[in-house]
């Protein structure tokens, strides 16, 4: 019997809770919160990472070293530890308590912003030196060279890697469950504690939801990469 292998009713009964949490009480959770966490951290990370890359590009040597050190530390410690750090530090900085989800978004944003900064800088440095020299010889200022010549070329190469970064970010939102933010993994674990006897069904279903989300985006990234290569 198929229901012996996979007892679907346990998913069916909890489907609404798994997908949107307590949305009707104004507390989004489950898959919806996972997507909200990923999208908000992703947007902040892109903007912040872009800003950091620009600062790095024009900054004096000491500031560049500082940014490099920041990125080494942020990426050198486990992401979970970064979440714990912000969980403690944010309330100190803000002077009032912050919701747990905010510390998670702050940690994910910071981690990915630093990664975006590094990949933008790497993309800029990978361009042939002649591009910059030619632009400057034609009378472009440093800012114009970056904005009109270097960035457009570098960014189009980087688009697929940003999508892959976002896929990793979706998976990383699951860390939030360790600080009890009710996203998909936390909700699944809650349902598992309540039901007790269907762990396989519940975690397989959660895995399935993540899988669909991530593999669709990964395929899109691969497609994008092929297209960019063809247009070269």
């Amino acid at each position: 019997m198929l229901t012996k292998l996979f007892y679907y009713p346990v998913i069916h009964e909890n489907l609404g809770y798994i997908l949107v949490g307590n949305l009707s009480q104004g507390e989004p959770g489950g898959l919806l919160l996972t997507v909200l966490l990923a999208v908000s951290s992703g947007l902040i990370a892109i903007l912040l990472g872009f800003g950091l890359a620009l600062i790095h590009w024009f900054a004096p040597r000491w500031l560049q070293r500082g940014l490099w050190l920041l990125s080494e530390v942020v990426r050198g410690i486990p992401l979970l530890l970064l979440i714990f750090w912000l969980y403690f530090l944010l309330p100190m900085w803000l002077g009032r308590s912050a919701p747990d989800a905010v510390s998670v978004v702050a940690a994910l944003s910071l981690f990915n912003a630093v990664t975006v900064m590094i990949s933008i800088l790497a993309g800029l440095h990978a361009l042939p030196a002649g591009q910059r020299e030619a632009a400057q010889a034609s009378g472009f200022s440093r800012w114009q060279t970056l904005r009109l010549v270097l960035l457009p070329q570098a960014l189009s190469h980087m688009l697929p890697s940003f999508v892959n970064l976002f896929v990793a970010l979706i998976k990383d939102t699951s860390l939030a469950f360790i600080v009890s933010v009710p996203e998909l993994t936390m909700i699944s674990s809650q349902v598992n504690n309540r039901e007790q006897v269907y762990p396989l069904e519940i975690f397989l279903f959660a895995g399935f939801l993540y899988f669909v989300l991530c593999s669709v985006l990964s395929l899109g990234a691969a497609q994008l990469e092929r297209q960019l290569r063809r247009n070269k």
Partner: protein, 249 residues
């Protein structure tokens, strides 16, 4: 020392019971990382050979495994194996594991640690296999053709000609994946593996000196990362010429 009204007390973390906890946690983190690393490496080599030299259905299984494990979060995989997978073991095996044993004079890993090693090994193998495959793809096709035309079998060409060059191409990304393994290991605290982060949370609830504990844990992870990266980079088996030409293509 005081910052923003918070008074730091390092002795609350670096002496007595908390220090013992942290040292124990460091041992567990190392055990988890090393054993999962060995398991992941062996499995990744199996996956790579399946994908490169296996019959069609086995190639699909290899590709499917990699896609599946890379596109689901480690947290869910840990919970799946811990709450779900253990049920598949016969009851006698579960009882034996839960009873606790000695192995070579040290404690045999707990069920939690074993599940942690198992989950992280399976997860990391998918990433290692993908880096290896990218390394193989970076080897020019002519190398394989030349080896075959010299009378090497398909398997010999792979093992003696392609794989050494692929390893040289893939070495730095592979080191990165082993570092990721180390940095992913705190997730095992969710199934009560008593590694470093588990211990810092314990210190936090023991004497409320969480910040000092996180600072110490950060330093430990940074140091472990530097050491692991230096050791693995120095193990690079590739010929010096290949190493410096890595970026040429």
């Amino acid at each position: 020392m005081s910052l923003g009204g918070y008074h730091f007390d390092w002795s609350a973390v670096l002496s007595g019971q908390p220090l013992d906890w942290l040292l124990h946690g460091m041992g567990v983190t190392l055990e988890l990382t090393l054993l999962a690393g060995v398991m992941a490496t062996l499995l990744a080599l199996v996956l790579l050979s399946l994908r490169l030299a296996g019959p069609r259905p086995l190639q699909w299984i290899g590709a499917g495994y990699i896609t599946l494990f890379r596109n689901t979060p480690l947290a869910v995989q840990l919970l799946f194996w811990y709450f779900g997978g253990v049920v598949w073991l016969p009851e006698s095996a579960r009882n034996w594991l839960n009873a606790g044993h000695q192995l070579f004079g040290i404690g045999f890993p707990s069920t939690e640690l074993l599940v942690g090693i198992w989950s992280m090994g399976l997860f990391t193998a998918a990433f290692l296999a993908e880096e290896l495959r990218a390394g193989v793809r970076a080897v020019p096709q002519g190398q394989l053709e030349a080896a075959r035309s010299q009378g090497f079998s398909q398997w010999q060409s792979l093992r003696l000609v392609i794989l050494p060059q692929a390893l040289a191409h893939a070495w730095q990304p592979l080191v990165g994946q082993y570092l990721n393994l180390l940095k992913n290991s705190p997730l095992a605290m969710s199934i009560a593996v008593t590694e470093i982060m588990y211990q810092t949370s314990q210190i936090e609830s023991f004497n409320f000196h969480g910040i000092e504990a996180y600072a110490v844990a950060s330093v430990i992870y940074l140091l472990l990362g530097v050491v692991l990266s230096a050791v693995l980079t120095s193990l690079n088996p590739s010929p010096a010429g290949l190493r410096s030409n890595r970026r040429a293509d």
